[in-house]
Amino acid sequence: MGFSISVVLMPSKSPSAAPASSPHPNPHPPTPAPAKGTRLSRVGLGLRHYLKRELLPLLADLRLAIALLLAIALFSTLGTVIEQGESLAFYQSNYPADPALFGFLSWRVILLIGLDHVYRTWWFLALLILFGASLTTCTFKRQIPALRWFSRTWNFYTTPRQFEKFALSAEFADRSLESVVPLLEKRRYRVFQRDNLLYAHKGLVGRIAPVVVHASMLLILVGAIIGSMTGFFAQEMVPSGETFRVQNVFDAGPWAERQIPKDWSVHVNRFWIDYTPEGGIDQFYSDLSVLDDQGAEVKRKTIHVNEPLRYKGVTLYQADWAIAAIRIHLNNSPVLQLPMAQINAGGSGRLWGTWIPTKPDLSEGVSVIAKDLQGTVIIYDQQGQIAGTLRQGMGADVNGVQLGLDELVGSTGLQIKADPGIPLVYAGFGLLMLSVMLSYFSHSQVWGLVEGDTLFMGGKTNRAQVAFEREMVAMFDQLV
């Protein structure tokens, strides 16, 4: 599989006679087949042979990497066009079998190849694993070995012929290396000299950084895998004033059991919403207390969106809200609390409602609808007609009974999760940001040789061709 591919770290056109374009000249000579030996060892050898001679070069092939990048991009688009994670009925009504979209995209096809959950299908994950394998192989088989070549300081060129192959080269009569050195140093080159030979370079970080880019992506991948194996997600909808334990786990990795908190619970002291003067939502707040086994408070914090609570590796996020109950009184009754349920409003905002009896035998009553926690509810009579509105702390006469609204009780929707992979992922993020920026630097190399009384100079760079040409020409102009 002798693909002649040049990688980031390899000079595509090396002026040297040395085998620079393959820092690993055939590192694995063919293994002679064992004359004798068990069948098993022969299979093992065959496998190793296949791995080293066939599989690894294929995985390290840059064209495979490009194909994988584009394939992941292509398949990712599917999940943004086709709705993800909907019910069977949804796909049946939106993607009917006849007439099928584009003649083939019926709900059966969608469910068969998993287009309702693209990012969790076996084929998408296989693509990601293949990508990870390619990334790993490239990093260790190509980048790191090539780095060794560039970190040498003795890449001198000894014959004028070698200068002919340069993109930029020049020859000067009656010039010495000493006239070149200050020019190079002024431009921040590191200069190495031996007798009549000169090698100078700058921006080596532009060669090292891409290796770190790849390594930090591997770090993120590992962190993501650890997170998905040992982390969990839970959601709880808790009315103001109640205590809960984390129970409603909807997504957990196979080894997540240890992360789910068992020896502590959380008390919701209060949930409220701040509204802007125009009636829009300003912010959601939950005042939470963490309680230990004995019910003693060990931590307290008011969370809001963008400001979660963390305790023992578990994080609680403000994620949602609802109206849990309504507290009312009828005539002189004590305060009654009735639960409120969310009503299907047909997609036009969220509404909660309950039914309040106005006769002791429950033969008559009114419906009460609320849309937010601002303290106003709408009353509907038996016939479904609006019978008026009711404000918190006020009363209204319904069916001959005085109905007083004491309070609307909100519940806070908390997203709860633990992800032990986060430190690795964040470390990968940090390294990736740093190294991807450093990868902008162009590694420029300049060679010099004095033969007779003629100075030969040549140079190349791996990224900034235009800027490098200007720099070289400016130096040449000064040498004249």
Binding site: S12, L70, S76, E164, E171, V305, M433, F476
Partner: protein
């Protein structure tokens, strides 16, 4: 004059200036010998850049937060970014072609924002709870700057494709010497073996035996090029320059995109506990990242230099637009700015 009137005046002014600048740059390409035209174009671009900056500054003072909360503001920010990146690309390449592509793009964006976006969408709205975070400025501004860079880079790739239309391109190695000749006093070659220069005008050929070494030349280069060498330094061709500047600008946009995506991921993890949730906008940012990563790798794949990576980069222009605007048309996900979480 109050801030709102000033804003209304500035957004129309920046559109007008960019429109004029576009015409100037096009004239500049049509009549390459006309003097001062490029200076006029650059000045127009600078005025547009400053008036958009003033517009965003006025809105910042007006609303009290960094103005990146709705489509109108982000369109103007991206137009500002394109005019800013234009200057980087122009000074790197010293080519007037850059403005011929960036000016119409920036003009179209300001036209859309100032003229066709309904008034209701132009007003600064209070931030929804999910966006009330310092991460907003960090994440959104870096993302938009990266879009601006990637768009300019992709535009230059398109320019490269147009300039090299119908030619077989072999970059860096080959040389068709259309660059300026200078009064050379030394010998400079580009890939010795492949030099096939058009014959330099006699008047420009160096005069005899200055400091050069025509006498020593044959002994050194007798190999293959003795007949074809020139005594003039040979510059990168226009195609070479466009290709490399496109690469450098994309090389600037790619780290920005990476940082922007990571900032978004960290913000998402801090705000609602998941750094990656395959939200459509997130996914398209990843797709953009993958396409440009493929471009960067295609460039270093042997035998793929030239048009093939440029085609990838040019298609990246469409991908960036889908990521920036197209996804919002789906109206789903965290980035529709309408709903809480």
């Amino acid at each position: 004059m109050d801030l709102v009137t000033l804003q209304g005046w500035l957004d129309n002014a920046s559109f007008g200036v960019l429109f004029a600048t576009m015409l100037v740059y096009w004239g500049c390409v049509a009549f390459p010998t006309a003097p001062y035209v490029q200076t006029v174009g650059s000045t127009g671009m600078a005025i547009a850049n400053l008036s958009i900056a003033a517009l965003l500054g006025a809105r910042w003072i007006d609303a009290g937060y960094f103005p990146l909360s709705n489509l109108y503001e982000s369109l103007f920010f991206i137009a500002w970014g394109i005019t800013a990146v234009h200057f980087i690309a122009e000074s790197m390449s010293r080519s007037r072609l850059v403005g011929a592509f960036t000016a119409p793009t920036a003009m179209a964006i300001t036209a859309f924002a100032a003229l066709s976006l309904p008034d209701a969408m132009q007003h600064a709205e209070p931030l929804v709870p999910a966006l009330k975070s310092n991460w907003l400025m960090m994440h959104v501004s870096v993302m938009l700057l990266s879009y601006a860079c990637l768009m300019v880079g992709a535009l230059l790739a398109i320019a490269f494709l147009i300039v090299t239309w119908g030619q077989t391109v072999e970059l860096r190695g080959s040389s068709v010497g259309t660059g300026a000749y200078r009064d050379a006093k030394y010998r400079l070659r580009r890939n010795g073996a492949a030099v096939t220069l058009p014959v330099a005008p006699a008047s420009l050929a160096p005069s005899g035996g200055t400091a050069v070494l025509p006498t020593t030349a044959p002994s050194v280069t007798a190999s293959s090029t003795s007949g074809a060498v020139t005594l003039s330094p040979q510059r990168l061709t226009l195609a070479d320059t466009l290709d490399n500047i496109s690469y450098r600008i994309i090389g600037l946009g790619f780290p920005l995109l990476t940082v922007g995506i990571i900032a978004g991921a960290v913000w998402a993890n801090e705000a609602w506990g998941s750094y990656w949730s395959w939200d459509p906008k997130e996914t398209w940012a990843l797709i953009t990242w993958l396409v440009f990563a493929a471009y960067l790798h295609a460039r270093i794949t042997k035998g793929w230099q030239g048009r093939r990576p440029a085609l990838l980069a040019a298609s990246g222009f469409a991908v960036v637009w889908i990521c920036y605007l197209g996804v919002n048309l789906l109206g789903k996900g965290l980035h529709s700015y309408g709903w809480f979480l």
